[in-house]
Structure formats: C-alpha cells, structure tokens
C-alpha cells in the first residue's frame, strides 16, 4: 500500500513541462566554462574569441539536430534501452558503458577544476578535500531524485543565474573600453576557427545527454519547439556576453597573464559606486553551473545502474557510492594541482569526442537504419 501511494504521488510530479525541458539547455551546458573552456580559447585566439563564440554557437545547432532526430525516432525510450534494442544486448551495453565511464571522468575533471578555483581565490589555507566534500553534498543529495525534481531545480537555478547575470552586467558596463577590441584578426582567421571547435565540443556535448529523458515524461504543449529555440539563443547570449565583456574590460595583454580571467573581470564590478568587491558573490553563478552539470551527469549514471541492480534499498545508496568513488579517485589522481592543467589541455577534446559524440552518432545511424527498414517493410506490406 505504501509503495503504491509513493508511486502514485511521484508519478504526476515526475513529468516535465516543456519549459522545464528547455531550461536544461541553459543550465547544463556551462559546466566547462570556468577555467577550462575559456582558458583554452583565450590562449589560442586572444582578442577575437567573441567571434569564435558566435561561430561555435551557430555550430551547436548540429547537436540540437542530432538530439532532435534521435528523440523523434526513439520510440519513447531513453537512450539506454534504445541502445539495447537497436544493437542487441552486448554491443548496446558496451556503448552505454563507454558513455557512463566518460561522464564519470568528466565529472572528476570538472570537480577538480572548480575546487582548485575555490581554493586559490577564496580560501587558500584550507585543505582541498574540505572543498571537495562541500561540493559533493548537494550533488549527491539531488542525483538520486527523479527527473521531475531535477527539472524544477534547473528552473530555479535559471532564475538565480538570471538575477546574478543582470547584476554583474549592470555593474560592469560602465567600465568597458571599446578600443580593447582592436587589433582585429591580428593573426588571421585560423585561431578563431579552432577556438570555435573547442567551444562546439565543450559546450554542446551536454545537450546530447538529454536523450536520457524518454518522450513519455514530457508534457506536450504548443510552441514547445519555439521555447527550445529561444532558450538556446539565450544560453548562447549568456556565454558570448561573458566572453565579450571579459575582453572589453581587461584587454588583450591582461587576459593572458591571469588564470581565471572571467573571475578577475568581476573584480571591476561596482554597483552604484558603493558596493564594490562583489566578485565572491557574483561568482556563485559559475559554481551553480558546475553543480547542475554534475547533478545531471550523475543522474545519467544512476539511471543506467538502476536498470542493472534491483532492490529498493540498494537504489538509494547508489549516489553515495558514486560520490565515494569520485572522492577517492580525486585524492589519488590529483595530488598536486599542476598536473590537472596538462591533462585537461591536451586530452580533453579527444576524450569528449570519442567518449560521447561517437556513441551518440552510432545510435543516430542505428535509428536511421531502423527507420529505413521499417519504411521498407511497411511498403512491402502495403504492396503485398
């Protein structure tokens, strides 16, 4: 009786509205913004990074197209069941395991980066483990919940980030100097193009993770496609504006000497000339982005593991076991902080490409092949 009640109660709360589904496009995609994405982009194309951001945003439409195509032909399953049904049990499980292991690795990298950031800028005397534990508390608390609750979390975080973005833009706009944009395209057009590829890979791969939501859980409403498009334009606007304002305020030379230029830019913000030094408060938007990405990635892994393991009690402990694994790996791998940067810079793009894009494209091809097969069969049946 109790189980039925819980199921009944959570069923209606388990559905996602169309705006909730669209809000994932904003909150999940910025996990790699602070320190990894912008660091690599500013190193390659110094002043022209905003062009790279715009080009990368246009290129991200490819990922949205892939996502849309997989979803319409997915027969209302999520990607784990879809892989199993398209390719059989063995190959499907291998694809799923590649996805999950890559995601776990990316979560570890992102957590290492953000805890280094907090340790350097906020609290240099504390141990790193303290900060890692502090980050893991909300992530594990939320990763074990259902997708309806996570979509509501993402909508609330969207509002908070909107407020902080408006506050930081209002505080920073008086300090802009437009002649920091010159010289334009000093080294030619190649650096912005390669930066655009970095943008495209790092900021749009989380969109592909949205295939974990089966179509049955989304409540259809009119204009749901327009909502997704509008929200995606807003997300690209946020990223491009952060990069653009950082370039305009700091200038070309200062960008290259700092490790976290988008945080240093916030140091210049001053509201009404009284409230200054708000960078610690305004940088909370970066922290929330990272936490949302980690929540969603862990939810992906937990959903995969839930289908393997049965039993209600074991299901509840799963996020905590994952958190323990992450904590131990962090302590073992990243003893000093410098090792992380080399690893991240050299290897992250191939890891993301091979680990996430390739399985998704294989799934896409599988759905195309199956759709063609079904059409051929229906044609045969119609004629015969």
């Amino acid at each position: 009786m109790v189980k039925e009640e819980i199921n009944n109660q959570s069923q209606e709360a388990d559905n996602i509205t169309s705006f909730g589904y669209a809000s994932f496009f904003i909150t999940i995609t910025k996990g790699f913004f602070l320190g990894i994405g912008t660091y690599m982009m500013f190193k390659i194309s110094r002043v022209d990074t905003y062009m790279a951001a715009i080009m990368g945003a246009i290129a991200s439409i490819i990922t949205i197209a892939i996502l849309y195509f997989i979803k319409t032909h997915s027969q209302n399953k999520d990607i784990i069941d879809l892989n199993k049904s398209l390719f059989g049990k063995v190959i499907g499980t291998i694809l799923n395991i590649i996805l999950c292991v890559t995601l776990l690795f990316l979560v570890i990298l992102v957590l290492q980066n953000i805890s280094q950031f907090v340790k350097i800028q906020y609290m240099p005397d504390t141990q790193v483990n303290y900060i890692r534990l502090l980050f893991l508390i909300p992530i594990t608390y939320a990763a074990g919940k259902s997708i309806g609750i996570i979509s509501r979390i993402s909508q609330l975080v969207f509002f908070c980030n909107l407020a902080m973005l408006i506050a930081s833009l209002i505080g920073l706009l008086p300090e802009i100097q437009i002649n920091n944009l010159y010289p334009i395209l000093k080294d030619g057009a190649m650096p912005p193009l390669s930066s655009a590829i970095i943008y495209f890979v790092l900021y749009s791969f989380p969109i592909l993770l949205l295939t974990i939501i089966p179509n049955t859980k989304i409540i259809k409403s009119k204009h749901s496609k327009w909502k997704v498009i509008l929200v995606f334009i807003y997300a690209s606007f946020v990223l491009c504006s952060r990069i653009l304002v950082a370039i305009l305020i700091l200038g070309e030379e200062v960008l290259s000497i700092y490790r976290f230029p988008e945080y240093v830019m916030l140091k210049m913000a001053s509201l009404f000339e009284i409230i200054e030094r708000m960078e610690n408060t305004l940088a909370i938007q970066y922290l929330f982005d990272v936490i949302m990405f980690c929540i969603f990635a862990l939810y992906f892994i937990v959903t995969f593991l839930k289908k393997k393991i049965k039993g209600e009690k074991k299901e509840k402990i799963l996020p905590y076991i994952l958190a323990l694994v992450i904590f131990i790996v962090l302590n073992v791998m990243f003893k000093g902080s410098m090792l992380g940067y080399q690893l991240i810079e050299n290897y992250i793009i191939p890891i993301v490409l091979v680990g996430i894009f390739v399985p998704m494209i294989i799934t896409l091809l599988g759905t195309i092949v199956k759709a063609i097969k079904d059409k051929v069969m229906t044609l045969k049946q119609a004629t015969s």
């Binding site: 009944n8 109660q9 959570s10 069923q11 209606e12 709360a13 509205t17 705006f19 909730g20 809000s23 907090v118 906020y122 609290m123 303290y130 900060i131 502090l134 980050f135 508390i137 909300p138 608390y141 939320a142 919940k145 309806g148 609750i149 979509s151 509501r152 979390i153 909508q155 609330l156 975080v157 509002f159 908070c160 009284i274 200054e276 030094r277 708000m278 610690n280 408060t281 909370i284 922290l287 929330f288 936490i291």
Partner: protein
Amino acid sequence: MMEEKNVNNFNSAKDIVDYIKNSTSHSEDMVYKEFMLGDEIVNIVFNESTTNGDFIADFISRSLKNLFDEKINESTDKEVGKENTNKEEDTSNKKRKGNLQEKLDEKKQFTEKKQENSLSNNLKNLDKNLGASKIKKIDIKTEDIFYYLFSGFTCIIYKTDIFAVESKASLDRSIAEPSTENTIKGPKDSFIENYSKNVGLIRKRLKTEKLVLEEQKVGRRSKTKVGIMYVSDIVRMELVDNVKEKLKKIDIDAILDSNYIMEILEKSKKADFPTIISTERPDLVSYYILQGRIALVVENSPFVLVIPAFIMDFVNNVEDTLQKSNGTILTKIIRYIAFIVTIVTPAFYVALITFDQEAIPTQLLVSFATQREGVPFPALVEAFLMIIAFEILREGDYRVPNAAGSTLSIVGALILGDAAVNAGIVSPIMIIVIAITTISGLMFSDINMSNALRLWRLIFLVFAGLAGIMGVAMAGMLFIIKLASTTSYSKPFSYPISPINFTNIKKTILERIDFSKDTKRRKILTDNLTKYRKLKE
C-alpha cells in the same frame, strides 16, 4: 471493533436505561426522566452538560403533552362524532332506557381504547409526529447511542424504540475577528469551534448548488466529524477520492484539532515546508474552493484545511485582493525581499565578517572592528546566542497574559539592547542584524512557515560559519533542492516558479490582473477553465 453488547436482550425501556447507566458508570451528568402520558411511560435520557435544558423543558415535554392531548381530543371528537351519529339512531330507538351509567361507561371504554391505540401508534412513530428540526430513530443494535447522547441529542425511549432529538447547547464563543490573520480591509469574520456554523459561513458566500459537503467520522474515542467541501464541476474528482480514501484509513484514538489530520495527510516528517494550508478566514476558503481546491472542516477546530497548497499561498497575503492593485505591487516586492532577507541575512553577515572581509567597504570594516573589540565570542557563536534569545522573547510574547505583557517585553528589549552591548557580551551590529531578520520574518502569518524559515536560517548560518560565501551558496543550493522536491498531493509545491508558467507568474507574483479581465482558472488544479467574468458591453 465494537465491543460485545447484549443487544439482543433489551425487552423494555428499563433495560436500555440500565444499560446506559452501567456503561457510563453512573456518571453524575446523565439525567434520566420518566414521563407519564396517560398509561404510557416514556423515558427521556440526556446528558446535562451538552444539552440545552430550556429546550428540553420547553419543547420536548410540552410537545409530548400536546401530542397526548391533541390525539385524545381528535380521536374523541371523531369517535364522538361517529358515536353521536350512531348513538343518535340508537337513542332514537332506546330513548328512555335511562341507563346513564352504562352509557357513560361505554363512552369511556370506547374513547379510552381509541386513546390507547392512537397514542401508542403515535409514540411509536414519534419521529414523524414531533415537530423538532432533527429527530431520528436509532436502532441500538447497529448504531452507537453514546455518540448521540454526547453530541447533545436527547433520547426518548418508548418500549425499545429510541428516538434522538437534537437539543444542543451552545458551548462556543461567538463569531469574532480572526486572531492570527488580521487584515485592514475586507470581511472580518472567522471560523469558530462549531461545525455547522463553520459550514454555514462558507455556504453563505457560495450559494451555488454545486458546492457539495461530504462527511466522515474519524477517531475511535472522539468520533470527530470531518466535512469535505468542494465545487463539483470545478474540482478534479481523483483528488477528492484520494482524500476520502486516506481519511477512511485513519485509525487513531482522538482527533483533537485539525492539525492531527494535517499531519496524517501530509506525511510531515519529510517536508520542512507546510504543504496544506490551514486558515481562519472564510473568505479565503471560498476563494480557494473556487480555484478547484478542497476544504476540510474539522469539528471543534477553528482552522479549516485546504488541499493542495503552493508556496505562493504562504508568501502572498489575502490583502492583495482586498486593496487596489497598484499599491499592492510594491507591497509584494517588499514581501519577497523580506523573504530573502529573513533567511540569508545572519549567514551573509557572519560569512563576510569571518571569511571574506574584502567585500566590506573600508570605513565600515573599521567601525565593525572597533565594535568587536573586547567581545569574547566568535561571530558564529554570537549569532547563535542572539537568535536563541530573540526566539525566546518571541515565544514568550505569545504565552504571556495581557496583564504582564508590556512590562516583560520592554524588559527583554532593554536587556538585549543596551545592557548587553554595554556589558560587552555582544556587539551592536549583531543586534541590528538579528533584529532586521526577525522583523522581516513577522511578515509571514502561518506559524508552520515561520518555523520552516527559522530552521533554514540556522542551516544557512552553520554553512556560513564553515565556509564563508561559498558555504552560503551550497546552503542555497540545498534550499533550492528541498523546495523543488516538496510536493503537495502530487502537485509541485513551488508552482508558478519552478514548472514555469508565465501567465501564472504574472498573476500571482507580479501583478494582479483586474477582476474584470481575469477569465481563466489555473490548469494545474482544474479542467474547467473558464470563469464567467467578461463584462458584456
């Protein structure tokens, strides 16, 4: 489970009376009376403390006697009429028989027989003959006579037939102003502890025939009536069935207040925030019922429950519909700022003072440092002490009787204000911070909501003391997660904000659409979306 009664052994009224006497262990406030109507004996049993003695004396006794007299006169008149017609023929025949005594005897026998027949019949069908407003025949084998006795009914027992007549005493206070939800404008009546008056206060506002009242009795020893009210063509019936099922499953000794039902229905251990509204104002309840919610009226409780609840119902006030909409926009903005201030301010202050001193302007920092010289406690401990002191003061304010009220609160404020600062125990800035926090928390009238906000204030404070601004951010994330995962009857708790619905955000959070243009109901609560409000031009 019913205890075994020797219900089949009742042969006469005396057995029933003895059974009642023994079961109540001869309680002193049960009154047993016997009426004699001619040759019939009618027993009356009632409980003196819950019944209205005047009513019994006036109405029941007199109407029984009237019944007796009427029926005699009627029947004698009829019979006399018939007899007279018959007797006239006889007397015309036997005119000078001269046996007067015989004639009188015959008459007497005839009339007496008629009397007896008619009276006992009437007494057996007393529920149809007596002119009381509520009278019911009880079968002692299947129903519970004690429920009727202690609810203020008088039991008239005639030869193993029991009739219960309502004669309640009025043990309630009169309808007065609400004690916790005061408003400046608008209706000022509030619910009291009388069940039918509460239902009446709602009925007189919604005079539609679609407003349905269903009743259930909950609680083994208290047998409290719980009434479910809803508008049948607006509400979703699955919600009603859900609530009814849950109420049937309750097996508890007594329901002493509507809070018991609230706890059972909402599984309150998991949720910090209250997910059921309990209010004292009938205009608010009618407003909610029209939106498609259900109201639960509980006997002996002046608080009516409304299901389901959203967070905006606790933050918004009923005054927004009672005042001009231009002025309430500013009031709403101030209220939302107060909501954030009351949770975050002590934590923010402690985080800035302890970890991130660079965010404070220099002049302010110098004055803070000067004030904190000589204070023995660290800032976190000081904040905890002040919060505890203010909570004690506030709680004492509720309990102290009016006579001693003002002196004690002045003493408390003086202690916390001047004396503590001068003694060097706390710094003056901490008192200002905690005072701002507590004053902002007074905006929220529901006590459960204030308790939830107080708990979150403490959690934020602990995290701020551990990790500064980043701790505040983590606690904020936990708050968001908790807010997003509370559901109220499988509807999301933070409704217009988290499953985002822009029309409802405009309606509830930002501004209120004029009454003449508000033509749609909320889709989450009901399927009947149109209201009939468009002005015809």
